[in-house]
Every structure is written in structure tokens, then in C-alpha cells.
């Protein structure tokens, strides 16, 4: 009898739990629908007043009457949405409103909350309406915070604030142990733009950065390259040639290419002889970005490299150098290195050169001569598959000339 009671109890408990789960599932959906409708009705009431404030900057009783928890719950969200888009007077009005309503003070105090999502939300808001005075507390949070999400949000907020102090803090955080935070810091420094260059150059020039924070140094280099920061050339040259971390050398070389100053060509040519192939590949890439025709012989040498990526970047660099580079690639087609020939042909094909030449095969004069020379180089190199593919797309005259050239096709040297 006793066991029957226990079993009955177990059945009752399980049935109650299942029913509870079902009710909870339906209840959650219902509550969510109710909340959405409640928020919608409030937004409908508040939004006109907020818009009016943005336009005029005049006090709106509707906004001031809101209890502080409602200000924090949805007024601040509406303000953040607008601050993300606004510039000028409207933005200033909203920043002032945040100060006047005490939103900034409350967010600052929330930075010390024991609950991490409250800290994250406060940091997010301060990025929009905290202004210069929020930079220091956010910097302190960034240094002391354990949670990666909160750190990433804080980094983003500092970038939004964008004052010199905020930039200094961010540049000092490039070596953060979390890759996510480093990534956020880097992209935000890039977003800040020129004001970030000075602190980044200083941090890269610091003697211990590479050893202590190699990730930070690599990221600083990438940001400087993406910002095309010519002020950073000296420190980048130093990193490109003398850094012990291979990634740093490669990124510095690429950054110099992005900056695109011809005075850096000698350094890049030296980097093209680096012991690591990624650095050589980036050197080829960088030389292509600068586009100095005097570097063509070296790029042709790189076309015969053992590493595919170096050959690939060298061929891309040459093809970007106009007629002289095109000529160099045709010469490569006639060379003795089958891998270099294949790469040159693939680059010329993918950039549409081969298509263009085949359409000029029956043209009289220099243009036609050049096209015939180039196509005959492709035929000699044995890289004729694309020519066969193009045959049917050509006008009758060009088809006839191409057929004649292909008829003389030798067995590929390869």
C-alpha cells in the first residue's frame, strides 16, 4: 500500500512537471507577445517626443516624466539607435539629454555592477552617449574585466568615444589575451583612423612589444597598413627586415606595400629574399602594389620560386604593372621553367589578357603583332587549353589565324 502511494506520488509529480513545462512553454510565448505589445505602445508615445527633442533641443515633459527604470529600459535603447546614425546638432542634443536625465551617471555606476551583462550594457551605452568623461572608467573596466564579451563591448565603446585618451587605452590593449578583444580593438582603431596612428607607432616602437605581445605587434602593423599611415614607414621598415616573428615581418612588408611609397622599394626587395616564404610572398604582393617597373626583373625571378604562393603573388604583381609587366609575363611564357610558365598563363587567362589577344589576331599593325606574339608564346608554352575553349567564341578571321597557330602546336615542354 505504501509503495502504491509512492508510485502514485511519482506519477503525479511527473504529470505535474510535464503539464508545468507545457504551460510554461505556452506562457513564455504569451508573455513575450504581451511585452512586445506593451513596448510598442510606449514607443508610440515616446518616439514623437524624442524626435522633437532631437530637432529642437527643447525640454520634452513626456521624456522627463518617465520613471528612471523606463528611461534605462527603453528610452536609452531608442537614443542609442539614433546616436548610431546621427551627426551634428541632433547628436549633441541627445548627448545632452543623456546627461540631463542622469543616464550617463547611472551607466557609469553600472560599470561596477556584479552582474556582467549589466556591465556590458552600461559600457555599450557609454560608447554612444558617455562622451569624453567615460573614457577613463571604460579604460579601467577594460584593464580589470575578466569576461571577454564585456571587454569586447568596452573596446568598441572606447572606439566610439574616440578621444585621444580612448585611443591610447585601445592601442595599449592590442596585446589582450583574448583574440576577440584584440580583433575588436584593431578594427576599432582602424575605424578611428588617423588619430590612432601616433599611439600605434609608439606601441610598435616600444622595445619589448614584439617579445611580450607578438599578436599585438602584428595587429598594430596591420592597422597601420590599412590606414596607409606614411608616418609609420620607418617603424614598419624596421619590423619588415629585423623582426624575429615571421608574421610580423610579413605584415610589415604588406603594410609598406599598402602605403605605397617608392622609397620603400629597396627594403621590399631585401624582404623578397627573406628566409620565410610568406614574407617573400607578401614582398611580391607589396612590390605589385607600389608598381615600380624597376622591380620587374626581381619579380620575374620570383616567378621561378619553389613556393606556389610566391609565384602567384609575383605574377599578380607583374600583371598589375601595365604593358611592361605584360611583356615580362610573355617572356616568362618563353622561359624554361614549366611552373612559372603555367602560372604566367593562368594569370594572363584569369585577367582576360588571352581573351583580348585572341580577338586581335587578325588585326594589322602593332596591336595585332603583339597579340600574335603573345598567343604564339602561349602555344610554345603548351598552355593552349584556354585557347581551345575560346575558339568557338571568336569571329571567323580570328578563328582561322588561331587554328593555324594551334596547328603548329608543339608537344608541351613540360
Amino acid at each position: 500500500m505504501e509503495s502504491l502511494g509512492l508510485i502514485g506520488l511519482a506519477v503525479a509529480v511527473i504529470t505535474a512537471l510535464v503539464s508545468l513545462m507545457v504551460i510554461a512553454t505556452i506562457g513564455v510565448k504569451a508573455l513575450r507577445a504581451l511585452r512586445a505589445s506593451w513596448l510598442k505602445s510606449h514607443y508610440r508615445r515616446i518616439e514623437p517626443a524624442l524626435e522633437q527633442y532631437i530637432l529642437t533641443g527643447l525640454d520634452q515633459p513626456e521624456l522627463e516624466r518617465l520613471p528612471s527604470w523606463q528611461q534605462d529600459l527603453f528610452l536609452s535603447s531608442l537614443m542609442v539607435e539614433r546616436l548610431a546614425l546621427l551627426r551634428g546638432a541632433g547628436r549633441d542634443h541627445l548627448m545632452r539629454l543623456a546627461e540631463d536625465l542622469g543616464l550617463v551617471d547611472r551607466a557609469l555606476s553600472q560599470l561596477g555592477s556584479r552582474r556582467r551583462w549589466h556591465r556590458a550594457r552600461a559600457a555599450e551605452k557609454l560608447g554612444y552617449f558617455g562622451g569624453a568623461r567615460a573614457a577613463k572608467p571604460l579604460g579601467e573596466l577594460l584593464a580589470a574585466e575578466d569576461d571577454e564579451t564585456v571587454r569586447a563591448v568596452t573596446a568598441r565603446s572606447l572606439a566610439r568615444i574616440g578621444t585621444p585618451e580612448a585611443v591610447r587605452i585601445l592601442a595599449g590593449t592590442l596585446g589582450d589575451p583574448s583574440e576577440l578583444t584584440r580583433l575588436r580593438v584593431a578594427e576599432n582603431l582602424e575605424r578611428i583612423g588617423h588619430p590612432a596612428v601616433g599611439p600605434l607607432v609608439d606601441s610598435l616602437a616600444a622595445p619589448d612589444l614584439e617579445a611580450a605581445q607578438p599578436h599585438g605587434a602584428v595587429l598594430a602593423t596591420r592597422v597601420l597598413g590599412n590606414l596607409r599611415a606614411s608616418e609609420a614607414r620607418e617603424v614598419l621598415r624596421e619590423a619588415a627586415l629585423n623582426a624575429s616573428v615571421m608574421d610580423l615581418r610579413a605584415q610589415a612588408v604588406l603594410a609598406l606595400g599598402r602605403i605605397g611609397d617608392p622609397d620603400d622599394v629597396p627594403g621590399l626587395l631585401e624582404a623578397a629574399g627573406d628566409e620565410s616564404w610568406p614574407v617573400r610572398a607578401q614582398a611580391a604582393n607589396a612590390l605589385g602594389m607600389i608598381g615600380e617597373v624597376s622591380t620587374i626583373p626581381r619579380l620575374r625571378e620570383l616567378m621561378s620560386e619553389g613556393e606556389w604562393w610566391v609565384r602567384m603573388n609575383a605574377s599578380k604583381a607583374l600583371v598589375n604593372m601595365g604593358p611592361a609587366g605584360e611583356e615580362a609575363l610573355i617572356e616568362v611564357l618563353r622561359g624554361g621553367d614549366p611552373y612559372a610558365r603555367d602560372r604566367a598563363a593562368a594569370t594572363l587567362e584569369s585577367r582576360g589578357f588571352v581573351r583580348r589577344w585572341t580577338r586581335q589576331l587578325s588585326v594589322e599593325g602593332r596591336r595585332g603583332d603583339r597579340a600574335r606574339t603573345a598567343v604564339s608564346a602561349l602555344v610554345e608554352a603548351g598552355t593552349t587549353r584556354h585557347l581551345h575553349d575560346l575558339m568557338e567564341t571568336l569571329p571567323a578571321d580570328e578563328q582561322r589565324v588561331l587554328r593555324g597557330m594551334l596547328a603548329e602546336e608543339q608537344e608541351p615542354a613540360k
Partner: protein, 476 residues
């Protein structure tokens, strides 16, 4: 001990077993609830649009093994190419298809033969050709047939980027799926692999390779599987991930660090459970090398897959899954109850052995013993009710709790009708469907003992088409 006592003892043992199993499940659920709650709160601050625009996110190679996929391959690849991620490439590995998979890809994407050498750091079947697109970040590797594992290994070798995302050719990825699934790896170098949730696409509206409206299927069979997937992914794998003991990353959608996959030797060819095997092997080797690592599961980056709609195909699928589980547990039996492998050796592996592998046997035996006991009058009505509570009612509770978790945090089913329907199926799947799957899984053990290593033919109906394709043999 006479026969009656044996039956009685067996029934009590089985009853205890069910309480232990479901108690453990409830514990896992509690962990998953907390984790999913945390995940969804963190998502608010995800900043995915910034991550998408970032120059600094690590690039990903998406690897798509394809075997006789002519019906869907072009649409699938097009949808993969339109994913939102800063820098990624798509590598399709044609595993010796007998249909027009290669021709369709060559034509649709204007692919040309490429001279790019592949870094063959894993052993694979011979490669016939490599093609690249002049405009898209798309590579096609055409190779001899060697099975899914071999195709994945080839793709991993062909990958140019440090992260590799292995997916099935017939799944639909949500636009932001790569951003979300890569995030744990961006957050921490310790994370070596991440699995994403796979959901059931049957019933959903699909347009141009994208799920545009999430709905439940009409038929009962796929609805049961929707609940199963929610229970397994949302409640189960999330919990295991928190314990850093996740043993399976679905073959349909997972991201790995390329160097780690290569260092453990890539996917194994001679198993039908290559997705579980590789994750278990990663645990084993990383722990043996004293690496501080994590294998994570993210409950939100959604891959949609079509589940079987007939009992015949579903049986084959479950048979293969269970044989894969047995094979993995046997291969890595050294890890079982071995504290050297931490939580994986002392908790996850024993759980999979005792509850996942042997669970169906115990359950089936329990049903038989119950019937025998009741028929012979050895067991009374009270015991039958207790058995029902332990085996069925607790199961219903777990299923309904999974639907609750889905509605509480993930909210993928916007219609009231679908939520009610899933709750309903969560209850009734325990009356018939569950017992059927249990029987199939027991038969899978028999099939394994008979050394059956076949994949079994699967049917695939394209998402945008009514055409049904039969994929058989050593397929994917």
C-alpha cells in the same frame, strides 16, 4: 535464484537504470538551460555586423564533400558562396560522383583547371583535377571515390585558411552561420573545434537556398525528429560542451582548426561514424599531449537539414548512427573510465557506453521483462506504473523541456501552432516512435556484430525541387 526472482531482479535493475539515465539527462538539461541563457544574453552584444565588416576575422575554408549531388549542388554552392563572412572560400570535393556533379559545377561557375598545388598532408584517394573559379572564391577538387571521410580529408588538404568548416552538400546554412560558429574560435585559441546546431528543414519554406519561413512539417515522422533534434542538440550537446566533453560534432556542420585536424590524422576512412570518431580522437590526442583545449558547441548557428520521411530510410540512418557509435567506443575503449582523459574518460565515454550504446538493449529487455513479468503474475500493476514513469513519462518530460528551452531562448518557431504541435509530439513520441527507434538501435548492434560496415542508401529530396535522388553505396 528461480526464474521468477530473476525476472523480478531484472525488472528492478532496469527500473533503477531508467531513473539513473533520466536523472543524468535532467542534470545535463539544467547545465544546458544555464548555458543557453548565457549564450543568448551574450548574443545581444555579438556585434556581428562589425565582425562581418572586419578585416581581422580569421578566414575560413568551407569544405563541401559531394557524391552524386547533381540535383542540388549548384544551388547549394551558390547559397554557400553568399554566406556572410569577411574572408572565406568554398572547396567542393567531388568524391567520384557517377552523375553530372562535376559538369554542372564547371558550367555553372565557369571553373578552370588550376595549377595550385594541394598540400597533401593527409592520405587520400588519387586526385583527378583541381578547378578554380576566376571570379568566385570557389575551388573544385575532383577525386576518385573514397567515401565521405576521404573527401573531407582532401578538402582539408586543399584548404588555404586556418579554419575549416566541414558541411554536407545538402544542408542549408543561415547567412550568419559562419560568423556565429567561428566566434568561439576567435574568442580563444584554446577552442579547436566547434559544432553548430542542426535543425529540421522539412516543412520550412525555402527560397533560393535560404530558409525564409520556419514551420513544422505536416507528417508525424519528421515532427518526431524535430523534437529529437532539439533534445539532442539544444539540451544534450550544449550540456556536454559546458563540461568540455562533447564527443560529437555533426558531420553536417562543424568548424575545426586545420592544423589540429591534420595533427590528429584527419577523418578516418573505415568507419561509418567519422564525425564522432574524429572528435573523440581529438580529445584523446590533445589530452595525451597535455594540451589545454576546448571543443565547443554553439546552440544558434543554424544549419538546416532534410530528415527522412519514410520509416525505411530513417531505420537505415539510425542503424548507421548506432554502428558509428559502437565503432568509436570500441576504437577508443582505452579512454573508458580512464581518469587520464578527464571528464571525457570518466563521464562522457561511460555515459555513451552505458546509456547510448547499451540503453536500447536495456530498454527493449525491460519491455520484454515487463510483459513476461506481468503475464506470469510476477510483477504487479504498481511496478508497471513505476516502469512507465521511469521509462516513458520522464522521457516525455525531457522532450517537452527541450521544446520549452527552444521557445524560451531560441524562438525559431514564430507560430503558436508550431509550438503547440511540437509540445504535443514531445509527449506522444514516447508512445510508439521511441520504442521503434529503440528496436532499430538494438538491431544495429546485431548488424555491427555481423560486420556490416555499409553506409546504406539515403534518399535526398532537393529543397527547391521535387526530384528525389537515390544515393547509394559508399556515398556521403
Amino acid at each position: 535464484m528461480n526464474f521468477n526472482e530473476v525476472i523480478l531482479a531484472a525488472n528492478y535493475a532496469i527500473l533503477g537504470y531508467f531513473f539513473a539515465l533520466n536523472g543524468f539527462y535532467l542534470l545535463l538539461y539544467a547545465i544546458s538551460f544555464v548555458e543557453v541563457l548565457d549564450y543568448t544574453r551574450r548574443e545581444v552584444f555579438g556585434g556581428y555586423s562589425e565582425l562581418f565588416a572586419s578585416n581581422y576575422a580569421p578566414p575560413i575554408s568551407v569544405i563541401v564533400p559531394a557524391y552524386n549531388e547533381e540535383a542540388t549542388i549548384a544551388a547549394s554552392v551558390r547559397s554557400f558562396l553568399s554566406l556572410r563572412y569577411p574572408v572565406f572560400e568554398v572547396i567542393v570535393v567531388n568524391d567520384g560522383s557517377k552523375d553530372r556533379t562535376v559538369e554542372i559545377l564547371l558550367k555553372e561557375f565557369d571553373l578552370r583547371e588550376s595549377d595550385q598545388p594541394l598540400r597533401m598532408q593527409l592520405e587520400t584517394r588519387p586526385i583527378r583535377s583541381v578547378y578554380a573559379s576566376p571570379t568566385e572564391r570557389l575551388t573544385l577538387v575532383d577525386k576518385d571515390n573514397g567515401g565521405k571521410a576521404d573527401a573531407l580529408n582532401t578538402g582539408i588538404c586543399a584548404a588555404n585558411y586556418p579554419l575549416v568548416c566541414c558541411i554536407d552538400a545538402d544542408i542549408i546554412l543561415e547567412e550568419d552561420a559562419l560568423l556565429r560558429v567561428a566566434r568561439p574560435m576567435i574568442e580563444s585559441k584554446k577552442v579547436v573545434a566547434v559544432g553548430g546546431i542542426v535543425r529540421v528543414a522539412n516543412g520550412c519554406e525555402v527560397d533560393s537556398g535560404r530558409v525564409v519561413a520556419v514551420k513544422t512539417p505536416r507528417a508525424a515522422l519528421p515532427n518526431f525528429q524535430v523534437v529529437e533534434y532539439l533534445r539532442s542538440f539544444l539540451a544534450g550537446r550544449t550540456g556536454w560542451s559546458v563540461l568540455n566533453s562533447l564527443l560529437i560534432i555533426s558531420g553536417a556542420f562543424g568548424v575545426f582548426r586545420r592544423e589540429d585536424v591534420i595533427s590528429v590524422g584527419g577523418y578516418l576512412h573505415d568507419t561509418v561514424g567519422e564525425d564522432m570518431e574524429i572528435v573523440t580522437r581529438m580529445h584523446r590526442m590533445l589530452r595525451e599531449n597535455d594540451r589545454d583545449y576546448r571543443i565547443s558547441f554553439v546552440p544558434d548557428p543554424v544549419a538546416w537539414t532534410e530528415v527522412p520521411t519514410t520509416l525505411r530510410v530513417l531505420r537505415r540512418q539510425r542503424d548507421r548512427w548506432h554502428r558509428g557509435l559502437i565503432d568509436t567506443l570500441i576504437r577508443h575503449r582505452k579512454m573508458l573510465f580512464n581518469p587520464r582523459y578527464g571528464m571525457v574518460g570518466t563521464l562522457a565515454m561511460p555515459y555513451f557506453l552505458l546509456f547510448e550504446l547499451l540503453g536500447p538493449v536495456v530498454e527493449l529487455f525491460g519491455y520484454i521483462a515487463l510483459v513476461v513479468g506481468l503475464t506470469l503474475g510476477i510483477l504487479d500493476f504498481e511496478f508497471a506504473v513505476a516502469f512507465f514513469v521511469a521509462a516513458v513519462a520522464l522521457g516525455a518530460l525531457l522532450s517537452v523541456a527541450a521544446v520549452f528551452l527552444e521557445e524560451l531562448r531560441m524562438r525559431r518557431y514564430p507560430r503558436w501552432k508550431d509550438v503547440v504541435k511540437l509540445t504535443f509530439y514531445g509527449v506522444i513520441e514516447n508512445f510508439g516512435y521511441r520504442q521503434l527507434v529503440t528496436f532499430w538501435r538494438v538491431m544495429a548492434i546485431v548488424s555491427f556484430l555481423r560486420k556490416n560496415r555499409d553506409w546504406g542508401a539515403m534518399e535526398h529530396r532537393g529543397f527547391d525541387t521535387e526530384k528525389t535522388v537515390e544515393r547509394a553505396g559508399k556515398g556521403i
